[in-house]
């Protein structure tokens, strides 16, 4: 039995001369929440479309739940998906839309009301889809993805349009599904969003995988940043020079010096600043967040 929910090797998609996904190779272990991150246009949705059998790869291979992506009929009954936002029939109610999909997939329609309640639409199931707000549409899309009681859930930007409370609910829902053994593959261009819930990460940039692995491995591998502020802003250049003399790379940003270096070097930095006659108003060792790490790794921004 396969231990991976998703496994792709050299997966590629070209549209004419334009490369949408280039030789993507990664694995997503079973039972994890895997964040699929990258800026808009980096190839996340195209990759998901290939994994769901909606488009054919121009190269490479892949497996979902141990089955080749050439035969989506073998694994899709165990996969729930929402891709490119929620798409439903506007003239039908939310409940009727789910009934259509349940009938289509051969699932019991008895589950529908429970799913509507699970995503917070229990009292709006009879309203027409066209009357839903963006957040409600998104919730209905998540409910539709949960219809098959999936072993693997693939969600493309599921928190788009949700209010902070809704985002928190989705996070909690994904975590509880993962705790019950469902593998979750969730894409977002909002890196801070995925940082909070992902165990595993696949990072994509311009169609290429730039990182794949455990979230903790990625974050621990990053050098902490020491942020130092002086009472007198004109002394920031001096502070930067002190850091660079000690062999640490730094930049001045947002009225502070950001120096890469081990957290315990902050003590020496403080002493050196004091010796140079600089009084610090802030000295904070800080691990970079996912967004900073992403930019660091990709060389963007």
């Amino acid at each position: 039995m396969s231990t991976t929910a998703i496994s792709v090797t050299d997966l590629s998609k070209k549209y004419g001369d334009q490369v949408a996904v280039s030789h993507a190779t990664f694995e997503v272990p079973l039972g994890t929440i895997c964040g699929f991150v990258g800026p808009n246009g980096s190839g996340k949705t195209t990759t998901m479309r290939m994994l769901l059998g909606l488009i054919s790869p121009t190269g490479g291979t892949g497996e979902i739940l141990g089955e080749s992506i050439k035969h989506p009929e073998k694994y899709l009954p165990r996969v729930g998906a929402m891709i490119e936002g929620p798409a439903f029939y506007p003239a039908l109610s939310g409940k009727e839309n789910l009934n259509v999909l349940a009938t289509l997939g051969g699932f019991s329609t008895d589950r529908v009301q429970g799913l509507l309640e699970q995503v917070g639409l229990g009292d709006r199931g009879k309203s027409k889809f066209k009357t839903y707000s963006l957040g409600m549409k998104q919730r209905l899309g998540i409910a539709a993805a949960l219809l098959p009681n999936p072993k693997l859930l693939m969600l493309d930007e599921p928190t788009n349009g949700l209010d902070p409370e809704g985002i928190q609910e989705v996070r909690a829902l994904l975590r509880s599904l993962a705790n019950e053994g469902t593998s979750v593959f969730v894409s977002s261009h909002l890196l801070s969003e995925l940082e909070l819930i992902s165990d595993y990460l696949v990072m994509l940039r311009k169609g290429e995988v730039v990182f794949t692995g455990k979230m903790t491995d990625l974050m621990l591998a990053q050098q902490p940043v020491i942020i130092a502020k002086s009472i007198n802003e004109s002394e920031l250049i001096k502070l930067l020079a002190i850091a660079e003399q000690a062999g640490h790379h730094g930049v001045i940003r947002d009225g502070a010096v950001h120096v890469q270096g081990p957290a315990d070097w902050a003590v020496e930095f403080n002493r050196a600043a004091f010796d140079a006659g600089i009084t610090l108003s802030q000295l904070t060792p800080q691990l970079p967040n996912l967004e900073e790490t992403f930019f660091e790794m990709t060389g963007d921004k």
Partner: protein, 268 residues
């Protein structure tokens, strides 16, 4: 495939679509049949294109289904619109990807949708037959048309064959609608092109050269609905010729559209 058909039926039975379409069917079926009897003495004619259908023709065993067979082509246009819209809307709403995730067998999706839409068309046709024949029975005495032969052995045979012909014709029109929906991926474009071609372009082409009538798809399907008899535009089309040529159009169109549907990336 049956799951797809049942899912499609859930969409087709929504009140606006179902009652709207059936309302149109009832209205036009009653209108076509009523005019046959109400305008029976009109010098402008009582059938399509000013054709005159006299008491002696209406009194025959086939008289009871004259109205029904005349409305057959119109039912075809309605079927074309419904089939085209139901198919193309999956692209415009983006719901095709939902369908394909739940049922990756693309041919099964097509067949299931086709079965459901055929059932919808069948309901339309039965309703039209009941309304047309019912209106004819009600209005015949007032127009001094004898109905003695309508429900005899020959009359029942006429009702049956006309029903089958209208079914073949309507399904043919519907299939063309589905093909247009798959190719154009937009309900408005598919319906506009289909209706424009059938109601305007074909008529213009036939006006330019009468013999083209033998080879145009809409003319063949209309001829099938009227049993290839000398009615309307299909005056010179033999029934078996219409069945063959119309069948080829429908089969080739369906084959090309199915091939593209199966092979094409779903990227919207």
């Amino acid at each position: 495939m049956w799951n797809v058909a049942f899912a499609e039926i859930r969409k087709l039975r929504r009140p606006t679509l179902f009652f709207g379409t059936m309302g149109a069917v009832v209205f036009f079926s009653a209108l076509f049949s009523s005019l046959l009897f109400l305008l029976i003495d009109s010098p402008q004619g009582n059938s399509d294109r000013g054709r005159m259908v006299g008491r002696e023709v209406l009194g025959l065993a086939t008289g009871g289904v004259q109205g029904f067979s005349s409305v057959g082509g119109f039912l075809g246009i309605i079927a074309l619109c419904v089939f085209a819209a139901q198919t193309a809307q999956e692209y415009t709403y983006g719901t095709l990807r939902n369908l394909l995730v739940r049922q990756p067998g693309r041919l099964r999706i097509l067949l299931g949708k086709f079965i459901a839409m055929k059932l919808f068309a069948l309901v339309m046709i039965v309703l039209s037959a009941v309304v047309s024949i019912g209106a004819s029975v009600i209005l015949a005495p007032g127009a001094k048309v004898t109905t003695d032969l309508w429900f005899g052995s020959d009359g029942r045979h006429a009702i049956f064959t006309t029903f089958i012909n209208v079914v073949i014709s309507v399904i043919g029109f519907g299939t063309i609608g589905m093909v247009l929906g798959l190719l154009l991926r937009s309900p408005i474009s598919a319906i506009s092109l289909g209706v424009l071609w059938l109601l305007i372009v074909e008529n213009l082409l036939i006006a330019v050269k009468n013999s083209w009538e033998q080879w145009l798809p809409g003319a063949q399907l209309t001829a099938i609905a009227s049993g290839g008899s000398a009615t309307g535009r299909s005056a010179g089309i033999d029934y078996s010729h219409a069945l063959l040529v119309g069948g080829i159009y429908v089969a080739v169109g369906a084959a090309i559209a199915s091939f593209l549907f199966v092979r094409r990336d779903v990227a919207n």
